[in-house]
Amino acid sequence: MNAKEVIARRVALEIEDGMLVNLGIGLPSMVANFLPEDVDIFFQAENGVIGLGARPPEGMEDPDLTDAGGGFVTAVPGAASIDSAMSFGLIRGGHLDMTVLGGLQVDERGYLANWMVPGKMVPGMGGAMDLVAGAKKVVVAMVHTAKGNPKIMPECTLPLTAARRISLIVTEMAVIEPTDEGLALREVGPGVTVEQVVEATAAKLIVPETVPEMALA
């Protein structure tokens, strides 16, 4: 199992029955593949549908029905079309139960940076700032390090996405929860030791006596 699949399977366990969930494009969108069978949830895509479904059968693609990355999708029975004002009204207004986003950096305050690298890459924040500021639960799904360099830092060096503490960091090496006291290590990845996590993390971690290995969906 590669790193991304570990992350997607672990994040899937955070999704509870009845939730409205927004999955970012890329790695976060993989989470949809590992949901338990019996949950009744809706996915929201910020470009305008509640009840996003899987890729349509060949030849059934509708140019007016895509996810936020522009990929063809379906809509599940009971779906609702919404415009951008309603979409972000739901996000900012606290109606979105959970969002899963990628991250460039997260720091000891639990702040996320994920929308630009000055002088190098300026994709723009898209909906990320509203999602992090407004969703009830914000999960950052990312690989633990970038080319060997830690992404979980004492303080973000990249521009912040929001000055609001995120709820959970899920990597292939660890599950980490930002708290009032700092970053608490909650779980380690399959076959990963606490020492390896500490080594790969630039931020200070609060490490309890026993750290269980993460379960996977």
């Binding site: 895509a45 910020e46 470009n47 305008g48 549908v49 509708d62 140019p63 007016d64 029905l65 895509t66 936020a68 990355g69 522009g70 809509a75 079309s81 919404i82 415009d83 951008s84 004002a85 979409s87 972000f88 996000i91 900012r92 702040y111 300026v122 994709p123 723009g124 924040m125 898209g126 909906g127 990320a128 700032m129 509203d130 500021a133 407004g134 521009p159 912040l160 996405t161 929001a162 000055a163 609001r164």
Partner: protein, 217 residues
């Protein structure tokens, strides 16, 4: 009752340097025929307000490639390397706005509100130079309304009065932008007789639409 406007005539309405609100999200729900007509005409210097600049060869990406965009006020340029290159080369100004803030600023411009008070962007570079207003102990950014000289709107269907319906994720910014420009040009896929769109299905009342593009041939 509206008369159908020919594509070339619609493009001729738009002077050099106009501020254009253009519907669409990664070229879904974008008035492609109108954009092609603007590219064919070659008059530019436009300020484009939109969710994104799409991809080269699609939607607003075609305006960027043609060099007709002087400034883009958008939430995302990550899928258009030409926009990024032109921005870095100083050929095009890009103002990045969080997506939810962008749609509310356009709505405020359209419905006569003085501004938008949002927590999105607080503690990030988005707050630079903006007024922060404290309301009952909570801080909010004051974001200013946006209006356009023209709104270029893509719709699923119009009737002869200009009433508009939208499809699935092709709603996005279109219904809000139709409120916020001095002149609104709508490009429907289909035009139907008055009465064929029931009142409860209308998302943009025809009184907002100034010009209806003729049917596709």
């Amino acid at each position: 009752m509206k008369t159908a406007t020919k594509l070339e005539a619609a493009a001729e309405l738009i002077p050099e340097g106009s501020v254009l609100l253009i519907g669409g999200f990664m070229a879904v729900g974008t008035p492609e025929r109108m954009i092609d007509a603007l590219v064919a005409r070659g008059v530019g210097g436009f300020t484009v307000v939109a969710n994104d600049t799409a991809m080269p060869g699609h939607g607003i990406g075609k305006l960027v490639t043609a060099g007709l965009v002087s400034k883009a006020i958008v939430s995302h340029i990550g899928l258009n390397p030409e926009t990024q290159a032109k921005m870095i080369a100083g050929e095009m100004e890009v103002e990045l706005v969080p997506q939810g803030t962008l749609v509310e600023r356009i709505r405020a411009g359209g419905v006569g509100l003085g501004g938008v008070l949002t927590a999105t962007g607080l503690g990030t570079p988005v707050e630079d130079g903006k007024q922060i207003i404290e309301i009952d102990g909570k801080k909010f950014l004051l974001e200013k309304p946006i209006r356009g000289d023209f709104a270029l709107i893509a719709a699923k269907q119009a009737d002869y009065k200009g009433n508009l319906e939208y499809a699935l994720t092709a709603h996005n910014f279109n219904p809000v932008m139709a409120l916020a420009a001095d002149t609104v040009i709508a490009e429907p896929h289909v035009i139907v007789p008055v009465g064929a769109i029931p009142p409860d299905a209308v998302k943009t009342p025809g009184i907002l639409v100034d010009h209806l593009l003729e049917r596709e041939h």
